[in-house]
C-alpha cells in the first residue's frame, strides 16, 4: 500500500494570481466568471499583472474590480472606453482593459466605444454579449435577438418597433483604428479555449501598440432568459451564433505575424512540457 503525501501531489489547476480569492455575485450558469478566469490566465501568462488596470462598467460586472488582483476603477454607464482612454493617455506603459456588457458598450456607450476604436486607442475591450440587460432584470438590450422575449419586450423584439440587434464585432472591424475585432463564444469547452486565445491576442495587440482590440464573447444569462444553465448554453449555440457568427472580423497584418510567432512559441512550450 502506498501512502500519498504532499510530495506526491501535483498542481494541475489553480486560481490565476491575477484573480482574487473571493465569491462573485454572478448567478449560477453565468459566463462572466468564465470570461474573468480567461482574462486572469492571460494576464498571468503575459506577466502583466503589475501594470494592468481594469475599468469596470455599470452592469452585472460592476464589481469586476473586486475579482481581479490588479488596479481597478468603476466607470459611469457606457463610459468605460472614455475612462480607459484617460488612463491610457496618462499612463501609456500600463495595460488598460475594460470589461463591458451589451447595454453598456452597444447602447448607452456606443459613441464612446466607436470613437475609442476610431482613435485606435491602445486599450483592450472584453465585451460580454448576453443579449439582455442582466443587472436591471432582463430588459431588451441592443443585442437582443429578433423575437426575443424580455421584460421590456414581452411580445418578443419587434424590428418594426425597435430595429435590429447590432453586430458590434463587425461594426468595429470597419474602423481603421481597430487592430483586432473578433467574436467568440463561451458555451462549451472547445469554444472557451478559442476565446482564451483571442483574449490573449487582444492583449498582445495592446502590448504591441497596434491599436484598439476587442473580443466579443457570446455569453449566457440563464436567470433572465428563464433557463437552466445547460439550456442557456444550448441557446447560445442554437440562437445566438446563427445571428452573431463567430470569427475574426479584423486582424491587422502586424498582429497576424505576431500570432504566427506566438503560435510557434506556444507549440514549442507544449512540446517541452
Amino acid at each position: 500500500m502506498v501512502t500519498l503525501t504532499a510530495e506526491h501531489e501535483e498542481v494541475v489547476y489553480e486560481r490565476p494570481i491575477s484573480l482574487t480569492d473571493v465569491d462573485t455575485i454572478y448567478c449560477p450558469g453565468c459566463t462572466h466568471g468564465t470570461a474573468h478566469r480567461l482574462v486572469g490566465e492571460v494576464i498571468d501568462e503575459l506577466g502583466i499583472q503589475e501594470r494592468t488596470i481594469l475599468v469596470a462598467p455599470v452592469g452585472c460586472s460592476s464589481f469586476a474590480y473586486d475579482y481581479f488582483n490588479v488596479d481597478g476603477c468603476g466607470a459611469a454607464h457606457g463610459r468605460a472606453t472614455a475612462m480607459a482612454t484617460g488612463i491610457k493617455r496618462a499612463n501609456p506603459d500600463n495595460i488598460v482593459f475594460t470589461h463591458q456588457g451589451d447595454g453598456d458598450l452597444a447602447s448607452i456607450g456606443i459613441a464612446e466605444t466607436l470613437h475609442a476604436a476610431a482613435r485606435g486607442e491602445k486599450i483592450t475591450v472584453i465585451f460580454i454579449n448576453n443579449a439582455v440587460y442582466g443587472m436591471t432584470g432582463g430588459q431588451m438590450a441592443p443585442t437582443s435577438l429578433i423575437g426575443q422575449k424580455t421584460t421590456s419586450s414581452p411580445f418578443g423584439r419587434d424590428v418594426k418597433l425597435t430595429g435590429y440587434p447590432i453586430r458590434m464585432a463587425e461594426l468595429l472591424a470597419g474602423l481603421p483604428g481597430t487592430a483586432y475585432s473578433v467574436r467568440r463564444s463561451l458555451h462549451d469547452a472547445r469554444h472557451i479555449i478559442q476565446a482564451k486565445k483571442a483574449i490573449r491576442i487582444a492583449f498582445e495587440a495592446q502590448i504591441e501598440g497596434l491599436g484598439f482590440s476587442i473580443v466579443e464573447l457570446l455569453s449566457s444569462c440563464p436567470t433572465n432568459w428563464g433557463m437552466t444553465p445547460a439550456e442557456a448554453m444550448d441557446w447560445i449555440r442554437d440562437h445566438m451564433i446563427p445571428y452573431y457568427p463567430l470569427g475574426d472580423y479584423k486582424v491587422v497584418e502586424e498582429l497576424k505575424r505576431k500570432i504566427r510567432r506566438v503560435g510557434e512559441s506556444l507549440a514549442n512550450t507544449q512540446i517541452k512540457s
Binding site: 474590480y65 488582483n69 476603477c73 466607470a75 459611469a76 463610459r79 475612462m83 496618462a90 464612446e112
Partner: protein, 366 residues
Amino acid sequence: MSEQLLKGNVAIAEAAIRAGCEAYFGYPITPQTELLEHMSKRMVELGRVFLQAESEVAAINMVYGAAAAGIRVMTSTSGPGISLMQEGLSYIAGSEVPAVIVDVMRGGPGLGNIQPSQGDYNQVTKTTGHGDFHPLVLAPATIQEAIDLVGLAFDLAEKYRTIVFIVADGAIGQMMEPAELPPMRPLPDKRPSWALTGAKGREKNLITSLYLGAENLEHLNQKLQAKLKIIQANEVRFEEQFLEDAEVALVAFGTAARVAETAIQDLRRDGLRVGLFRPISLWPFPEKRLAQLARKVKAFFVVEMNSGQMVHDVREAVGPIVGLQVPIMFFGRMGGVIPLPEEVEGEIRTWLTHKMGMEETLPLED
C-alpha cells in the same frame, strides 16, 4: 516676467499648463474654444496629453480616467457642456479624485446664445450632478485673477481631492487685458499613493463611487460632508471695495462685479456711500462675512447676469439674523445681456430716493 496682452481663454489655458496640467480633454464650444485650441498646440509641444473628445460626455470621463491615474487634468466648456458633464462630475466627486473644470458661461437656457452670462451659477454651485456634493467654485473678475485662480484651483483640487471649477463668462473668456503669467512649475516625479499606476510592489488601488450597502454609502457621504466643512472653513475668498463707510453694499461676481465697480465709482462721485462685496469663491460662499456686513450696511444690492441666482445665497446668509431687516435687492439682465453701469446706478439712485421718503425700515424686497 512681465505683463503681456492676453486673451482670457488663452491666459487660462497657459496658466493651467504652467501650474502643471499634464492632460487636457475637451470639446469645442463657444465662447471657450480658444482655450482648447491653445491646449492643442502647447500641450503637444510639451509632450503632454491633449485630446479632442467626441463629446463633453466623453471628455469628462477621460478627465475622470486621467484623474484616477493621479495626474493634473483639466477640461473646459460652456453651460451646455456642463449639462452633459454632470454625470461624470458626480462620479469624480464620489470617487474623490481631483479635477479642474473651466466653465466659460454663455446665455441659456437651451442652445441660448454665445454672449456672456452668469446663468450657470446654480448649476456649478448647487446642482453639479446627482447626489450630495459641491465642487469648489472660483470666479475671476479679471484675466490676471483668472491666471492666479487656475494655479490655485489645481492646488486645491489636489489638496482636497475634489472638483474645482473656474467660472468665467464669455466676456472674460474673449476679452484681452494685460496680465502676467507665472513661471512654469516642474512636474511631480511621482504619483499620489492612491493613483492607478499598476499594482507593483503594493496592494491594488481602487477608484470607484459604487457602494452597494446603504451604510457604506452613508459613510462615504459623511466623509464628503466633513471635507466640505473643512473647505468651508478654509477656502472662502472675497474682495471688498469702499465698504468701510458704505450704506449700500453691491454684491456681484465676475463680469457683473466689474459693472458694479464702475457704477460705484460714479455714485461715489455724487457722494453716495456705496461699496462692493465680490465673492471670489462662489462655493464655499462667503456667508459669514456677508452676515457681518449686514450689521453695518443699510441695504444689499445684488447684481448678476442672470435672473437672480446668487441673490438666494445672499438672502440665506443675511436672512436668519434676528432683528435685522436689511433689504436685499436684485438687478439682473438675462440672455447674454451685460447690464450697463448706468442701469445699475439708476436702480440704486431710485431706491435711495425712495428710501429718503420713508421713516421706517423698509421691508425685505427683491
